[in-house]
């Protein structure tokens, strides 16, 4: 096991929790990013507008982070363009079929103690671990 951080991940996590709670408080919506992104592709009118606004906020926050410190986006994973493209396809299909991702199932779903979300989260974390172990053993 390598050295790990506590304070920054915890702070960032709490910010994510607060943001998701604000979505619920103001708009009554679940802050599931895959669902919101999917909605920008498949929905129209008002239903599309608030989702596009959330996605625009994510990107604007990304620009802000990048201006503050480019190290927020350090990528030394060694995963190439082909790998991330295949990964994107899998994530797109998987989140749509499974009804959510890390935010929708992992944060909001578990935060509501939803059985479906707990099962989904355990499943995708285990699948992620299996793939990482597999990929690492091939390349390193």
């Amino acid at each position: 096991m390598t050295e790990f951080e506590v304070l920054m991940p915890l702070t960032g996590g709490v910010l994510i929790g607060i943001s998701a709670s604000m979505m619920l408080l103001f708009s009554g919506r679940i802050a599931g990013v895959s669902g919101i992104f999917g909605g920008t592709l498949f929905k129209q009118g008002k239903e599309r507008a608030w989702r596009l606004s959330f996605i625009a906020g994510l990107i604007a926050g990304g620009v802000l982070l990048y201006i503050i410190n480019a190290e927020f986006f350090e990528n030394s994973s060694g995963r190439g363009l082909l790998a991330v493209t295949i990964a994107g396809l899998l994530v797109g299909i998987g989140t749509r079929v499974g009804g959510g991702c890390t935010s929708g199932h992992g944060v909001c779903g578990i935060g509501r103690l939803s059985l479906r979300s707990i099962v989904a989260t355990v499943t995708f974390v285990l699948a992620g671990m299996a793939i990482v172990v597999l990929v690492q053993s091939f390349y390193y």
């Binding site: 096991m1 920054m8 991940p9 915890l10 960032g12 996590g13 709490v14 910010l15 994510i16 929790g17 709670s21 979505m23 619920l24 408080l25 103001f26 708009s27 009554g28 990013v33 992104f37 909605g39 608030w50 606004s53 959330f54 996605i55 906020g57 994510l58 990107i59 604007a60 926050g61 990304g62 802000l64 982070l65 986006f73 990528n75 995963r79 991330v84 493209t85 295949i86 990964a87 396809l89 899998l90 994530v91 797109g92 299909i93 998987g94 749509r96 079929v97 499974g98 944060v107 935060g111 509501r112 059985l115 479906r116 099962v119 989904a120 499943t123 995708f124 992620g128 793939i131 990482v132």
Partner: protein, 148 residues
């Protein structure tokens, strides 16, 4: 611009700042967290812990004190409790992609703000994947997608 759109925009900014601070926008950290038999990096477990715990408390408070959202409408929360094969198959596919690329949807979209080509390819592929899921795969699994 409608108030709900402004609220969503602000929530999006806050959400992405949280992702950035926590390290989720660095694929090697995500992969490090998933690499249980290698140099296991436990950091991201604390992101999950902080996010789940704060949401758990705040959503309970919201549900107890508000009958409708502040900006009107109604709370749109799924109440499904059934475990079907779509949930499991979807989670398996999503987890595989997460481990392969080191990105999940939120951090990937946030990383578009840094001009990352990896993130751009990931997000475009993710959109295509969602279209494929809705048009081809979901009808095959013959179930209704949980619209969030």
């Amino acid at each position: 611009m409608a108030k709900s759109n402004i609220a969503s925009f602000i929530c999006g900014i806050l959400f992405s700042i949280g992702l950035g601070i926590s390290g989720m926008t660095q694929p090697q950290k995500v992969i490090g967290f998933l690499d249980v038999f290698g140099e296991w990096d436990l950091s991201l477990a604390f992101v999950m812990f902080g996010a789940v715990l704060s949401y758990l408390i705040l959503q309970l408070w919201i549900q107890r004190n508000f009958s409708i959202p502040v900006l009107g409408g109604s709370f749109q929360i799924t109440t499904r409790k059934d475990l079907d094969r779509s949930l499991i198959i979807g989670a398996l596919l999503f987890g595989s992609g997460w481990g392969l690329g080191g990105y999940c949807p939120g951090p990937a979209i946030t990383s578009l703000g840094s001009g990352s080509l990896n993130a751009l390819l990931f997000v475009v592929a993710m959109g295509i994947g969602m279209l494929v899921a809705d048009r081809v795969i979901s009808p095959m699994l013959s179930y209704e997608i949980v619209k969030r």
